[in-house]
Amino acid sequence: MQAECYNPLIPRDLRFRMPRRSQCVFFLVFLTIFVALISAAPAAAQEWDASSRELAEKIVAHVQSRSGLSLTVKNLSSLPQSRVSEAQRALESELRHRGVTLVASEQALEQAGVTLAENTSGYLWVAEVGHDDSWDVVMVQMPVLAPAERAPATKSLRRAPLWTQPEPMLDVTSLGDGGLLVLGRDSISLFRVQDRKWQLVASAALAHSRPWPRDLRGRLVLQEDGSFRAYLPGVQCAGTIQPQLNAACRASDDPWPLSTGVNAFFSGRRNYFTGAVKLAGSSEAGNLDPFYSVAMFPQGERGFWIVAFTNGTARLINTRGEVVTTFNGWGGEVAGIASDCGSGWQALATRAVDSTQLDALAAYEIVNREAAATGVPLEFDGPVTAMWSAADGRSATVIARNLRTGSYEAFSVSAVCGR
């Protein structure tokens, strides 16, 4: 399971909930950070071990004498100079380990001009070894190095990583017992921490007879009895987690749940809700225009919806069915979350960018029919592909595709009040 290495040992949202008990806890945290810091540099250097060893062996095989070799390292790759210096130190060490005496160029009998280049397979060491008119070329291919993590910049919104995997994710739900349920394109997977690592416990295939729409969407809903339902275009799956994970899928046009008691029909071959909305206990269905998402603010008579329609508009609709206002620059994903800040309700909205661009989530307070942005938008490393309000209404599950790594990253996003 490749994905496990991308994820923290304990989901960060669980760690945030841990109470502060004593100074002992702070000491442990400090110790952990200290150990992590002092171990980071050797870990980075280890990335070069295998390739520098292989390159050193090839260079040594082509030199006439080990007593006077000058080594120069040039960088043609996109790596920063600090990492190239690491590589150079690793190579020098490997050459010395093989009995090579490294000298300045004017004292050298032979030269090794090493270039760290880059190609579509990763990084390429290229060494030109020789002297005068006699030169050999040796090369060593190495894979792409893991990109340096960028610290998220959050002010009014906080995100806790839930899960990362190379394959697309449609929805992720944290289970009460610490497990994670991940809805993928073709399967639903259960992960748990075992032996201090996230492990795939079980996976159940999602049967479907027709090809999925290109921009596939799906939603996971946990039931009170511990079972779950997965909603996908034209398909619904019912399943259990205990005693073992299973999912039974069938073709279905039944509506998807938007909020308690509010359901909406989803197109079986597209990426949007058709606009038909059904209320629990009613045989009637209301009609909106087709929409991508809706943020609901259940405040009784003062309630309102913000709907992101497929025609590119995001509109505030009041309880009388009036379009109160249209918001500019909002993307197709909106969700409502409750918090202890401001009015107690915030609308989250993506940017109006396409999937080739970096996305961000902004939080808005609805004041006097206007959306007032609160705090700094929460930046993501790629487009947000899914956002659903969580069952508790106080957070939203956000899935973004990281354009640097290609992986899909799921977060739990909630509002943080300024103190």
Partner: protein, 461 residues
């Protein structure tokens, strides 16, 4: 909440149309993308073993035909028509399990034997056969790089019908085709990878770059080509311009005529070419001067091939090879860049004492009269081995010369150029200008289009 919701529905539909549109981020279905090209392809069949597919053929191929394997944006193999695969330890025998339920554009199922026929036709050196429902590819020499090879356009799965047409399984199906003039594609509703967001694509061929620019300006086109020397100006005019990495090699290819049989003469011509000047002036510093066959971003080693213009050495070689004949250099008359390069090559060669007369020719009615040609060789793949092996398959006199490791590729690159029958000049990117309503446009580094993911913003009222 429920009573509020009832009220909400009552008037919402009527009132929604009152406000202007704003923006959107999730892909929208519908619309026709209008694309213009200067090329005039006569065939949609990408599988032509004896000739290198043009950029246009490669691009069109990806819309209509699928391959067993695709490379993702990081160059990693992903399942295409093949759902899974396995190979023996020495990579001589591969087994591919086909994706089930795939339909050809004519509605008939894609049967395994059709895949076998298609691959066998484009790869005479492979032994392709059926084993039950699975496809077996075997070769006398190891094929460690087979997955990247299968992702090339020339390995598209093309089914020839009795009517003499070609049918594919790709995201778009052909609804109208006038060779060299116009192509209309419609979305494949049953595409295994999900129906494209666009309803259709209209491609007009043979449009001059000037006409294309005018059509974009007047809203008659959504995607046009941009000449490399016009990129800066287009950007200054506020146009949305996207570029690939250097993705097409412009080179000189020599004929077998006796007039150019002397390698010293060919080397002299190669040495006379001032590639840096071509890159700086004709290309306005786009692309890269080419001494090897692959661009640096693909090979990683191309910097080792120094771009050297040596007129003195060229003159010396010229003098050693006897009296120089007057040579003819052909270029595609519809390609302004090829013409400019041909003229520059002629001037450079003159400085070395070689007389070269450039002339334009119609690519479709090409004659065998020219001594040498300006050729455009699109990257067959972002994978170095697949890209170089594709060049080798067409231009090598010894047939395909398999190479896989960087050192083997470096050696093959040198071998392919050692007789100076193929002289690299520059690597150029593909450049496109897009109308504002085009969304999700991704330009792969190796060039081409990913139109199945493109969507169009709704026209504003």
């Amino acid at each position: 909440m429920r009573r509020s919701a009832y009220l909400l529905f009552a008037a919402a539909s009527l009132l929604l149309a009152l406000c202007p549109a704003a923006a959107e981020s999730r892909p929208r279905y519908g619309g026709t993308l209008r694309l213009e090209l200067s090329a005039s392809p006569a065939s949609l069949d990408p599988v032509q073993p004896s000739a290198f597919p043009t950029s246009a053929q490669q691009q069109l191929s990806a819309l209509i035909f699928d391959r067993l394997v695709e490379l993702d944006q990081r160059g990693m193999p992903q399942p295409g028509l093949a759902a899974s695969w396995q190979h023996d330890p020495d990579y001589r025998r591969w087994l591919f399990h086909l994706r089930s339920g795939v339909l050809l554009h004519n509605g008939s199922p894609l049967l395994p034997h059709l895949v076998v026929m298609s691959l066998a036709a484009s790869n005479p050196n492979w032994h392709v056969r059926l084993q039950g429902e699975e496809i077996v590819i075997e070769s006398a020499s190891p094929l460690p790089n087979l997955l990247a090879e299968l992702a090339c356009a020339r390995n598209a799965i093309v089914v020839h019908t009795e009517a003499g047409t070609v049918v594919g399984t790709g995201p778009f199906r052909v609804s109208a085709w006038e060779p060299g003039k116009r192509l209309t594609l419609t979305a494949n509703e049953d595409y295994w990878g999900g129906r494209p967001f666009l309803d259709s694509v209209e491609i007009t061929f043979g449009r001059s770059q000037r006409d294309q620019a005018l059509d974009l300006q007047l809203g008659r086109a959504d995607v046009i080509e941009v000449a490399l020397d016009q990129i800066r100006r287009a950007q200054q005019d506020g146009q949305r311009v996207v570029l690939s990495s250097p993705a097409e090699l412009i080179a000189l290819a020599f004929s077998d005529k006796p007039s150019v049989k002397d390698p010293a003469l060919r080397e002299a011509i190669s040495l006379s070419i001032d590639r840096s000047a071509i890159q700086n002036t004709l290309l306005q510093k786009q692309g890269e001067a080419a001494a090897g066959l692959l661009p640096q971003w693909v090979s990683g080693y191309s910097f080792l091939f120094r771009v050297i213009a040596g007129v003195d050495r060229a003159r010396q070689l010229r003098g050693d090879s006897g009296p120089a004949p007057s040579l003819t250099l052909a270029y595609d008359w519809s390609d302004p860049l090829a013409r400019a390069i041909a003229e520059r090559v002629s001037v450079n060669a003159h400085d070395a004492g070689v007389t070269i007369q450039p002339y334009g020719e119609n690519l479709q009615a090409r004659s065998a009269n020219a001594d040498l040609r300006v050729v455009r060789i699109p990257l067959a793949s972002g994978d170095a081995a697949a890209a170089l092996n594709s060049i080798s398959a067409v231009f090598s006199r010894q047939g395909a010369l398999p190479a896989n490791s960087p050192e083997e590729l470096y050696a093959l690159d040198r071998v392919l150029r050692s007789d100076f029958r193929l002289i690299p000049i520059v690597y150029v990117p593909q450049a496109w200008a897009l109308s504002p309503r085009v969304k999700n446009w991704v330009t792969p580094r190796e060039g081409g289009w990913r139109l199945a993911d493109v969507w169009l913003e709704e026209d504003k009222p």
